[in-house]
Amino acid sequence: MTDATSIREAVERRLAKRYRAEARFRSFGIAAICFAIAVLLLLLGSIGYQSISAFTVNELSLPVTLERERVDPRGDGSPESLRAGSYNGILQDALREQFPSVTERAQLRELFALYTPLNAARLLNEVAENPGLVGQTIYFDMPISDHADLYLQGRITDSVRAEQSVAASPSGVSGEVSIRTDEPAFASLMAAAQNDLTERAEALERRASRYRNRAEGMDAGSAAERLISDAATAEAQAEVLRASAASALEETSLSSDLQSRLVEINGGVVKVETISQGGRVATGRALLPLVSADAANSWTIRTIEVPETERRFSDAQIVWTDALADAGLVTERFNTYLFTNADSREPELAGVQGALIGSILTMFVTMLLAVPIGVFTAIYLEEFAPKNKLTDLIEVNINNLAAVPSIVFGLLGLAVFINFFGLPRSAPLVGGMVLALMTLPTVIISSRAALKAVPPSIREAALGVGASRTQTVFHHVLPLALPGILTGSIIGLAQALGETAPLLMIGMVAFIADAPSLAPGGLTEPATVMPVQIYLWSDGAERAFEARTAAAIIVLLALMIAFNALAVFLRRRFEKRW
């Protein structure tokens, strides 16, 4: 083995294999990092995408006549009187004015759903602030309802317009209208409906057969029986569908679980309900009255791709919204409600202001408690504590506290602060205290690390020239460790800012429609914080809350990025090398 050439040969023999292993190992590393980055991008991308719609709002701007008797029932212009006014009625009237043809109660309800009545309160506030408006006609801006908003942003359904050049003559201008054409202009719609029905029937049959197969593989029992009955139901439904599909080419009734077809003709819109005579006649309700019943050579069939049953925004609402938009009464702008409003049941009015203020108050308490106590503890443990059982205990304790699940701190807060000391629930004060306890270990540990990073030689140097321990710490060690301490504290606070679970425990999960005040008194008022607001919204029934949630997340992330940027800046600015 001592022969140089034989050693070289031995080394060379294994070399290729070793380099292959090397490449493999390396690629694992790259893959891991790519995975992490990809997930991050996916996360941010999906949230960003979802949040887009929340940052703009479509505002309905209606001319509102503030008739004195309705606004000011007592007629004395006093605030009390103004508050008693029927503002919602005014808003309803303003909207009705745009669509005089709508008279049916059910349709009116649909129409009024284009805005939320909470706007009446806004109108009231505006008038109360400015009583001079009474009796005037003003343009009142209000966010259009969340569904209309989503529709306008194209998030509810796509629609396709097909230009028709065949002459068509409507039977009337409003109510039931049938449109007659010489050629079967509506035949393609019938075919599409038939296709659709067939496909759905087939899907049901497939599922039924799968259930049956599975049931056969099982022992007889309740589960199998349930499967078999499910299969039977599916088969029955498929039967019905097939039947209607078979007759579709004769005369089709476009039920609401099929794509909606709207005929736009002579300035009006007719929703097609049945097609008959081989596609030459389409009958339906005029959602928007026609200007005339003359035959037209140029008209359009509009297909709403999502069936009406699968959305919470009716065909009529679509038509009205479009009409309002066409009339220039709807404008899209940056959603300031998101920042100036507190929480609301209605997505279009919901904002994060309340949560933001709650977060600020909570963080204020947390910072005031956690940073000084944490830094003092770190100084004590690192610089002064004698090595004994007590300090060992404190050390182990702190290290463990750092890894205690945050929810346990919530339990502590609930049991001690609220139940034992009787502090108010849902208050930023209690939230701040709980978060302070949770952040304390982080602050202590990072402060200790910063103190530890100051080389002992500096301490020896100071002691060597006759500085006392306290002087050594406060003159030399602490200034050197300060950037690290600050960074650690800020990162700890950032963590607390994003924390949710312990706050759920102490009831900061309430619905708070009014933003708490920033004064010290606000500390004991019920409040919520950003992450809890996110949690609440993510549970929201309205689909528009999804976007609001995402937007709130973006706001929270921006806050945290600001925090961390501050930490990085401090570290860069004050870091000293030794």
Partner: protein, 419 residues
């Protein structure tokens, strides 16, 4: 100006006066040779300031604590309001002046003012560090106390709680069914927690570890500079955001994928989606801890291996990882405890049904989810339903504590080797 503001201002003036008095007296006692003083003049100043401020603040504190009882005692008297309002500040001022007077006489050339001031600072520091202990004591006591009440409520059937297979606390809310067996069997929760944790670790451990290895051993400084902050962003994202991500993006995707490959009964809120997202959340935790541990391996060991003719991967696998193994194990244990205690992701993404299942596509529930479920909304503090949350918290705390103790031990051992 409010009374409190006036009080604060007066106290401030008094304390500054104390400081100034101490300083001047000290300088005077040195008869023009400041170097002959035992302590610098400022320390004499601080000494008097402390003696002024502490008694005053103590009196104020006592007044605040007993204000309630005093209030009731003197409310019968006329002019009680004025007394209540002006009493504490005046008492505080008197106490401060008294302290100042007592301490004044001690200022002298050889007086060790510095030592006294430093002892006071030391006391403040010690008191701060005791708070950490109080927190733990508070946690343990509150959990234990409420848990005992819970166990009492279920007639000390602790084994049913720990080993029972059915979890349906809602039943217990009805008075006649209090403590019914089977209602508080926590095994489904434990199983759900375990499944999600395992899934999370299956993602986080390899990805985090390999990322750490690549960053510390392979990546150039430029890559490190860009990738590390990216991983840190992943760590800084609040868990509620992960929850939302799991709920709205990952969950539906997994359900779609499951349906596509023919798995039935897949739901949006599944153990898999919660576990996956939690795994992603823990990646930076594992990677940064591992990175620290790997970086703590001295460069000289790498040099040694390279100089022997080892390739990079050989150096990592045969020298660095074995050297860092205890640290990495510690890091992974900490990650597990993190996963077990994680709340928001599972609350939002794992569902709430207490299923005892091994199918990751089904929804499961965890300890933390149940705690949240039991304690949000209106609570009656006497119902076993509410109290059971504390018992669950106790289990959670004990388990994570044990894990942490072990992990910290391991990491500590490792640190000692290279410090």
């Amino acid at each position: 100006m409010s009374v409190s503001a006036i009080t604060a201002l007066t106290l401030l003036v008094l304390v500054s006066a104390g400081f100034y008095l101490g300083r001047t007296r000290a300088v005077a006692s040195a008869s023009g040779k400041p170097a002959s003083l035992h302590s610098l003049p400022n320390y004499h100043g601080y000494f008097l300031a402390i003696w002024t401020a502490v008694p005053a603040l103590l009196v104020l504190g006592l007044c605040a604590v007993f204000s309630g009882s005093i209030q009731s005692a003197v409310s019968a008297l006329p002019a009680a309001n004025i007394l209540l309002l002006a009493g504490p500040p005046v008492a505080a001022l008197i106490a401060g002046l008294a302290g100042l007077q007592i301490a004044r006489g001690r200022i002298a050339q050889r007086f060790r003012a510095r030592n006294h001031v430093e002892r006071f600072i030391g006391l403040i520091l010690l008191l701060s560090s005791v708070i950490a202990i109080l927190t733990t004591v508070g946690i343990v006591l509150s959990l234990l106390f409420e848990s005992l009440r819970f166990f009492e409520a279920i007639n000390w059937q602790i084994q049913d709680f720990l080993f029972g297979l059915q979890w349906s606390p809602q039943i217990a809310i009805r008075e006649d069914q209090v403590g019914q067996t089977g209602a508080f069997g926590a095994v489904p929760l434990f199983a759900g927690t375990a499944m999600i944790t395992v899934i999370a670790m299956l993602i986080a451990a390899p990805v985090g570890l390999f990322a750490a290895i690549y960053l510390s051993e392979y990546a150039g400084p430029a890559t490190r500079r860009t990738v590390k902050p990216i991983l840190e962003i992943l760590a800084g994202i609040p868990t509620v955001v992960y929850g939302f991500f799991a709920l709205l993006t990952v969950g539906p995707a997994i359900r779609a994928a499951a349906t596509f490959i023919g798995v039935d009964g897949a739901v949006t809120q599944s153990a898999l989606s919660a576990g996956l997202v939690m795994g992603v959340m823990i990646i930076p935790f594992v990677s940064s801890l591992s990175d620290d541990v790997i970086n703590a391996v001295p460069q000289s060991l790498r040099d040694g291996a390279y100089a022997m003719g080892a390739t990079k991967s050989e150096t990592v696998r045969q020298v660095i990882l074995p050297a860092a193994l205890p640290g990495i194990v510690g890091a992974l244990l900490l990650a597990v405890s993190r996963a077990v205690g994680e709340t928001m992701i599972v609350v939002m993404a794992a569902g709430q049904g207490a299923n005892l299942t091994a199918n990751p596509f089904e929804s499961v529930t965890t300890i933390t989810v149940q705690i949240v479920m039991l304690l949000t909304g209106d609570q009656e503090f006497d119902s076993p339903k509410t109290l059971s949350a504390f018992a669950l918290g106790l289990v959670l705390f004990a388990f994570t504590l044990a894990l942490n103790v072990i992990a910290l031990r391991v990491v500590q051992k490792y640190r000692e080797k290279y410090d």
